[in-house]
Every structure is written in structure tokens, then in C-alpha cells.
Amino acid sequence: MSKLYERPKSLCDVPMHYCPGCTHGIAHRLIAEVMDELGIEGETVGVAPVGCAVFAYDYFECDMQEAAHGRAPAVATGIKRVIPDRIVFTYQGDGDLAAIGTAETVHAAARGENITVIFINNAIYGMTGGQMAPTSLPGQFTQTSPYGRDVKKQGYPVRISEMLSTLDGPSYIERVSLDSVPNINNAKKAIKKAFQKQIDKKGFSLVEVLSTCPTNWGLSPVESMKWLKDNMIPYYPLGVFKDVD
């Protein structure tokens, strides 16, 4: 009998703390599968964020460094400069990457640091209980926009992938989504390609992963997937924004 499904070697055999239906778990699995397929588990260092993924070091079988909120790309820069032949990735939420850590993100990208950034965009600050993030959609209900994000008062969402693609430093930027099986398969391809760019020493790579936060969106996991598809994808179009060799 052939095995169709098994836990990737790079993913620890422990229960995850994420809420039911949260896509952080899917994203973790995709990264672990990619690490297995590329055979880099023993030579990879991950940088964990502050956010719901703060415990990422409990889930990946590689060495992990915890960074302060938003500082992951700067910390990863230091690690990569010391061990340039190893694979260094950061795993960051949108609060971590697109709010408090925007400067680090932009400058690591501008320097063309040869690291890979996995950017989990769930349009909210999950861990602190669902406050508005820079990525929250116009009209989105959050704890700090209880009547919906009013763009006149609270500004507009930030499209990180588009912004970074105007820089010369990045080698690869793609936005993917975890709302359906075909999109999950695509997300894995993108993550693999991003790591491959690093292996090939092409410079900064980033995959923006549109994700859900059922708990703070106040929706069931199934409704969340639909909300992502119907609301996030139109605002954050999927696709490759940068791919240079």
C-alpha cells in the first residue's frame, strides 16, 4: 500500500495552538513540505515573529530565532550575513510586517538581502484580539473600527507586494491565497520558488499569503474562507509581482 499523506519531516509532531480553522496551520505545513522537498531542513534557520505565530519555533524542525515585534527581517539579515550558505526565512503576520515592522521589511527588500519572507496577511491583529491592521479592508469590522474601517478617518489598506515590487532589491514577490485547494497548491509552488531563489542566491524573496482569522473576524472557518475569497482577493489581487533571475 502506498502512503498518500504523511506529516512532513520538517513539521514537529505536536498539537498546534492555533484556533480551529485558522490558516496559520496550513501555511506552516506548506513551508515544512517545501523544506522536505528541497532537503534543506538541516540547514535552515527560521525567524519567528510576535503575533499568533510566536510559537512557530515549536512547530518547525529547524533552528529558530525569536524576533521582537516587527524586527524579523533585520534579525534575519544578521543571521544570513554570518551563515550565507544556509537558508534563512522569516514568518510574519501583517501587524508584524506591515505595521510595526514596515521599515525593516522595506529596507531588507531594498538591500536585496538573500532571505525569504513568508508574509501571512489576515487583515487584522490576531494575537492582541482583533484590532484594525494597516491591511484591514475598507469597511472591515474590527475592535478599533467597530462600525467598519472608515478610510476617510483611518486611511487605506497597504498593498505590501505591490509596494515592494517597485524596488530593485527583491528577486521574487508573489501573492497567494489559502482559500481553496487550487490556491493552496499554488501557494506551495510560490513558497518553494521563493526558497529556491534564496538557494540560487538571487536576493530577497517574499510570498504574501492571504489568510483567515476566523476568531477575530467573527466568522466560522468555512465563512472565513468565503470572506477571504469575496473580499480580500478583489482588494489584494493574486499573482506574481516580481520575478527576476
Binding site: V50, V54, E66, A68, H69, G70, A99, I100, T102, Y125, M127, T128, G129, Q131, M132, P134, Q143, T144, S145, P146, Y147, Q154
Partner: protein
């Protein structure tokens, strides 16, 4: 008079904020202070206040926005904890030296690293030399009262300094207690209208805020800042007296609990005072002359008053919920021993306790009083710099 209500510490402070109705609140969420701006955001969205509420992208920007707003003549406030406060560091000093009376709810949480969300005082202790007035409170009522008084202290023309209202994360911030609220109108009258002397685009003439200050005057400006901090002691007492007349709730520089005839005493900050008071009561019932001092005003440090209160005691333990990493003791301990130096000959020991949220129970506090009683009896101190409730 005001009404009684069941509120968490954070909710109480958010209500105080609503009653004050500041011009600007700029904040970024961080556990355990998140609820303060979150409740306030609901008030703002419901039109209960006239405040510009700005959910900025980091604490560095939160304090920067507070500085800009206050410089433009607005009454401004925010809330944060731990790494959020640390991330404000650069701006804390600038706010204080620019003499901008910003008010901050500093909900005490252990500072990374290692990362931890629970309570200790390592965050605000690190900011003790930033030039902010620091008030500490044991209960939800004190967190609420201090927040209202903070506005008046900060904006007093003899002070013009920012103020932190410090209270314990989770223990005070999230526990629900029945507290007495002032009437909205009473709060409004108490804090009055904010009338800064100098602010941007002021009709009385051109101002530049926070300019480069070279050796010719930098020193004099720092001297003025130090003087303002000294003035703050008097102003805090005046404002507290006025508050007492309004509410019947009396606040000083510190609270003395059963100190009249005490022979041994503990000095500490914030919520652990509640636990320690229970132990004092227990000891008193056995005839032991134990007392407690709970510091309310840590910056400015009430040097003379502390000396007067501790003078003549047989033994004192200072309990610090933050380590000093100076090889000598915690920050409260070093301030108290330097206050006593040359003025009173008291045996003082230090306990570092409760770091990262380690629970502190009456049993733990009893250990401290037992040690003090031994010192009182023998006159000899075994160890000055100690850790309470640690696995070693």
C-alpha cells in the same frame, strides 16, 4: 457624588479617559494594555468623546503622534505595556524634555526577553530616568483616580511633564472590582480646560518645539527639567488634596499601612500591597509590630518623606518586581538605600520577586517578615540581595 460600578482596571482607565475627553489619543495595541485604547475606540466611534483617535502602526509612532499633538496644543494620552513602552523609549525622553504633559496608562508587564506577557515592573522601571512622573496604584480604583489626577499634575505650569499611571498587568488591568466613579461633570471641572503656554501656531508668536540644543544651553534646559520634577512633588500633593476634597479618597506620596508603631516593614509598589496587607493583619493579630509602605509616587522619589517613615525601624525589606542587573539590588532598593544614606541607620534588605508573573502569595510575604524579625532580633543581616519564590 459619583456612582459605583464593576469595572476591570483597564475599563476604569478607559472610562477616566472618556470623562477627561482628551483632544487626541494615539495608540498601538499590546497585551495587557490593549483594552484601554480598545474601549476608548468604542467611545470615540459612538461619538461619546470629541477625541481624534489615531490607531497608529507602532508605539514609536504612538508616542511621536502624542508629541506632535501635544506640541500643537492638544491634551493627549495613550496606553502601552512592556515592549511597547520600550519601543517608545526615544520619544519618552523627547516628550519629557519638551515639557509636554502627555498622560500614559502604563500597564506593567515583563519586558522581553525572554518574551512573556505577565506582570512585573521591568518595563516602567526602565523608564524611571526618562523624565516622566511615575504614579503607581494597587487597585482598579487607584488606577482610575491616578489617571484623572495625572492630567492635572502633568499640566500644572510648575511641572509641565508627562505622567505615567502604572498598574499591574492582568492582576489590576483585567480583574474586575467595584469602584467609585466620579460624575462626568466633576471630572471635567477637576481637570479643567487645557491652556498650554506655548504651542505650535500659537497667536502669541512663533515657536519652535524640540530644537537642537548645543552646549551653550542644553545643560540649563536639563536643569530646568530637573527642577520641574522637584516641583512635581508639591503639585502632586496639592492635586491629591483637591481630589480628596472632591471624592474623600486620600492619596499621598506613599501609603503607610500600620506603620505608627511598626518595628519591621516591607516597602513595595502596586498590587502586591494587597497581599502584603493581609500578612500584616495576620502578624498584628499575633502581636507582631509589622507594617507596610506602598509607594505611590516613584518619580519624583519622595526621599525625605521615606527617610522619615523608615527611621527608627529595626529592619526593612524592599521588594522589587524588577531586577536591577547592577549586581547590587533592584531599582526601588537602590533608591531607598541611597535616600537613607547618612540620614538614618536602618537595616535594609532587598527581595526581587514575581518576575514574569511568578505568583506571590501570603506565604511568600510571610517569609520576608520572618527574615525581618530575625534581623530585628539578632541585629545581623545574612544576605542583602535576595530572590523570593525562585526555584534554585
Amino acid at each position: 457624588m459619583g456612582k459605583r460600578d464593576r469595572l476591570s482596571g483597564n475599563e476604569a482607565v478607559a472610562v477616566a479617559m472618556r470623562q477627561i475627553n482628551p483632544d487626541v489619543v494615539a495608540a498601538f495595541p499590546i497585551t495587557p494594555s490593549t483594552e484601554v485604547p480598545q474601549y476608548f475606540a468604542a467611545f470615540a466611534n459612538d461619538g461619546l468623546v470629541d477625541t481624534e483617535f489615531v490607531p497608529v502602526e507602532s508605539e514609536h509612532s504612538a508616542m511621536s503622534a502624542c508629541i506632535g499633538a501635544e506640541a500643537a496644543g492638544a491634551r493627549t494620552m495613550t496606553a502601552t505595556s512592556a515592549n511597547g513602552l520600550a519601543y517608545m523609549w526615544e520619544m519618552l525622553y523627547i516628550a519629557a524634555s519638551s515639557r509636554l504633559p502627555i498622560v500614559l496608562a502604563a500597564v506593567n508587564r515583563a519586558l522581553s526577553g525572554p518574551i512573556n506577557i505577565h506582570n512585573d515592573h521591568s518595563d516602567t522601571m526602565g523608564a524611571r530616568d526618562s523624565g516622566w512622573v511615575q504614579l503607581y496604584g494597587e487597585t482598579n480604583q487607584e488606577a482610575y483616580d491616578n489617571f484623572i489626577m495625572a492630567v492635572k499634575i502633568a499640566e500644572h505650569p510648575d511641572v509641565c511633564l508627562p505622567v505615567m499611571d502604572c498598574y499591574d498587568g492582568f492582576i489590576t488591568s483585567h480583574s474586575v472590582e467595584v469602584i467609585e466613579l466620579l460624575d462626568d461633570q466633576d471630572v471635567k471641572n477637576f481637570v479643567g480646560e487645557y491652556k498650554p503656554k506655548a504651542y505650535l501656531n500659537n497667536p502669541n508668536g512663533k515657536v519652535s518645539m524640540g530644537p537642537l540644543d548645543m552646549p551653550a544651553y542644553y545643560f540649563e534646559h536639563k536643569r530646568q527639567q530637573a527642577e520641574a520634577m522637584k516641583n512635581a512633588k508639591r503639585v502632586i500633593l496639592e492635586v491629591s488634596e483637591e481630589f480628596y476634597k472632591l471624592t474623600g479618597r486620600k492619596y499621598g506620596l506613599f501609603e503607610e499601612y500600620k506603620m505608627e508603631d511598626a518595628e519591621v516593614a516591607i516597602v513595595l509598589l502596586n498590587s502586591t500591597a494587597g497581599t502584603a496587607k493581609a500578612v500584616v493583619d495576620e502578624l498584628r493579630s499575633k502581636g507582631v509590630k509589622a507594617g507596610l509602605i506602598k509607594i505611590r509616587v516613584f518619580r519624583p522619589f519622595p526621599v525625605d518623606e521615606i527617610v522619615a517613615a523608615l527611621k527608627g525601624l529595626k529592619a526593612v525589606a524592599v521588594m522589587d518586581k524588577a531586577d536591577g542587573f547592577n549586581g547590587a539590588g533592584g531599582p526601588l532598593f537602590t533608591d531607598i538605600t541611597s535616600a537613607l544614606y547618612g540620614k538614618a541607620d536602618v537595616k535594609v534588605i532587598n527581595y526581587i520577586y514575581g518576575l514574569g508573573g511568578r505568583d506571590v502569595r501570603t506565604d511568600d510575604i510571610e517569609v520576608v517578615y520572618d527574615e525581618l524579625l530575625k534581623i530585628a532580633e539578632t541585629g545581623s543581616v545574612k544576605s542583602v540581595y535576595n530572590y523570593l519564590g525562585i526555584k534554585e
